[in-house]
Symmetry: C2
Subunit: 408 residues, 2 copies
């Protein structure tokens, strides 16, 4: 019934790379405290060494290590104590042989010292200490740049900033970073049967779901959903809205209604707006077969299925890929968890199958259950915790088979 030629998912990704990888998102400079979840638009180098002075890693006595060689319980080394170093103070003392200085954990070593003896191995007298254990050069010392070296590459462009990055940046005095401006997304849902969830319900119409789930997914990915709208399946209306959305955003998501003729109308509307227009219509995946990838004014338009669960799944496979590429995100692979399938799962021949699943913890690890239900059910997706991917050349998954689950 469907006449379009389908393209393999891996080929679709290549075509998206070719068409959109040179798309330039602008960059902005922000305080790192607001940078959580944002993506670095430039490599970051350390401006200074960490630590930038020699620190003791223990409470103890800074010494010239050679003075302690051969020291033992029975034959301690006696060394003159010249004073105490204080936390946070510039230690301007200079040690020479047979002298030592007390240094707390994190305190600055005096010049000349090359190791610290832990207080546990020291007996203290008035002006001298007895050392019961030798220390090697650099023992209990964090040297300049041991943690971070000046000019070292800290994080590359495309890094998603998390809590621990903030710590590293703070440690070298970087409190502003350059990040990509959040991609601007417009979302359009079409269908004569759709109303906005705030409207009154009448027989025959249903509430729009897809602009909400897609908004949520885009927000999770660090995008800015600047406008969303439900429109009827009218060629000119659809064309006008789509045009204004393309003009004001970096990416337009369009989720097709299910009314007769819409499936054919959407590519025509897109093609009417410019070239190259529709790049792909029909993808060898289930769900998501009727997905459209288009390019107008150098911008991407992603036409997703109207069924809520199919729409989410196709977005996760293709929309996420596209957005992560726009953001130059450098960790493309998602982590998965592994579990054992509780039942046989059927796959569609000639298509990559994405099966939504629930995850159950057992003493032997995770048990994976497919989520089934009638096509179009929104509760399908609300019950699922992740999905598994069944390759094109595989007939299905057998009960007891180990599978990788990608989490929602």
């Amino acid at each position: 019934m469907e006449m379009f030629k389908v393209t393999k998912v891996c080929e679709v990704k290549e075509i998206m790379d070719q068409n959109f990888s040179s798309y330039d998102l602008p960059s902005e400079t922000i305080d790192i405290l607001n940078a959580q979840g944002r993506i670095l638009s430039k490599d970051i180098y350390a401006l200074e060494n960490v630590p930038h002075f020699r620190r003791s890693t223990v409470d103890g006595y800074a010494v010239v290590s050679a003075d302690t060689f051969g020291a033992s319980e029975t034959l301690p080394a006696f060394i003159n104590l010249i004073g105490d170093a204080h936390m946070g103070e510039h230690n301007q003392s200079h040690l020479c042989s047979d002298k030592c200085m007390y240094v707390p954990t994190g305190g600055m070593l005096p010049e000349g010292a090359d190791a610290v003896v832990m207080i546990e191995y020291v007996e203290k007298f008035q002006d001298e200490i007895a050392i019961h254990k030798s220390v090697a050069p650099k023992e209990n010392v964090m040297d300049i740049g041991d943690d971070i070296k000046q000019d070292q590459l800290l994080f590359t462009r495309g890094t998603k900033i998390k809590a621990h990055h903030l710590g590293v940046l703070a440690s070298v005095g970087i409190t502003d970073v350059d990040v990509f401006v959040k991609p601007k997304i417009c979302i359009l849902s079409t269908g004569d049967e759709l109303i906005d969830p705030k409207e009154d319900l009448k027989p025959g119409v249903i509430r729009d779901i897809n602009t909400y789930t897609l908004s949520g997914l885009c927000t999770e990915l660090g995008c800015d959903v600047i406008e969303k709208k439900v429109v009827k399946d009218d060629f000119n209306n659809l064309k006008d809205t789509l045009k204004s959305f393309i003009d004001k955003s970096d990416l337009v998501l369009l989720s097709g209604g299910s009314s007769v003729g819409t499936k054919d109308m959407t590519p025509d509307v897109i093609n009417a707006l410019g070239s190259p227009g529709v790049l792909i219509h029909g993808i060898a995946m289930k769900p998501g077969k009727p997905t459209i990838i288009a390019k107008i004014n150098n911008k991407a338009v992603l036409g997703l299925p109207g069924q809520p669960a199919s729409c989410i799944m196709a977005f996760r496979v293709l929309g996420e890929y596209l957005i992560k590429n726009l953001l130059h995100l450098n960790t493309h692979e998602e982590l998965f968890l592994e579990g054992v399938c509780s039942t046989n799962i059927h796959a569609s021949p000639g298509r990559e199958t994405y099966q939504m699943v629930t995850i159950e913890e057992s003493s032997d690890g995770y048990i994976i259950n497919p989520v089934h239900g009638k096509s179009g059910m929104i509760t399908l997706i609300s019950r699922a915790q992740g999905y598994i991917k069944i390759p094109m050349n595989k007939e299905g998954i057998s009960v007891g088979e180990k599978v990788k689950v990608y989490l929602f």
Copy 2:
């Protein structure tokens, strides 16, 4: 050297439950489009059925199923066509035996029809159709409430709202939800050697890291970090700042400096502010042994280690637990992934050991490598992708052993 009695991690969690589980965060009503990542403060019930009319799941002909019984390629059933249903329209027709009506996918069934025959199995003539295959009652029909039933419990209090929840809420016309107000957090870092990252560096001082990493972690958990500050190790200064922080927040995080005497000063400062004051000082975990749990004015104060990596680890184990409890989060268990350890990992006897690790993908699954480095290194945590937990009664992990990794 450290004199305090240590408490087991599981006991610490019990004590936190006893002391803080009745703490009431206020609730607020917000638009679901802003609700991503927020926590529901009330159970949510469906206000209506989804679908709220009988929908066809295919393009086909609505029929009285009994009319098709026995129909086959060789002996089709001939039925009168009375018209077409249109998407989004209230279908007010009534079918009786020997009549049918065209209904598109998602369209409303007429009264009297109880199944839909797919167009693939139908030959159409002017005023009638020939049906080549029988349909069972309810076949290709989504009944009223098949997806969601009116008054059904959709989501419980404590649910963290994600994209798919937005879709379900939209589907039943719920566009506002009650969520807990974000917990207000103040963060205090103490140490004579600490300066704010924006200040000029001098020998002997280091830049504060912990208020930044803790801010990031709290933000990730959905908290509002309302103030953060670095203070010197001065009893009165510390006491005044801590008091004002307790007054204005739901939870205070305090990360101890490493200067001499601070370890003893912090509990005294806390106890000087009210009772019961310090509940726990000393926890059977590594890192994180000197962690403090305190209660003043019914509010929690969490005293974390000063070492950046230890601070993050102790926060993840105890601070996260506390915040998730304040928010009544109903999915407490974090998902883990499993891998095989690349090397032996040593554990500390009598303590729960939290070892930071990196995760490497191989053809056989994940390979887990411990992250090592000198104590106090911030780069320890920036290299780690997660951590493994070694129970108190286990001496360590052997090379090749399967471990669970909790992700950062």
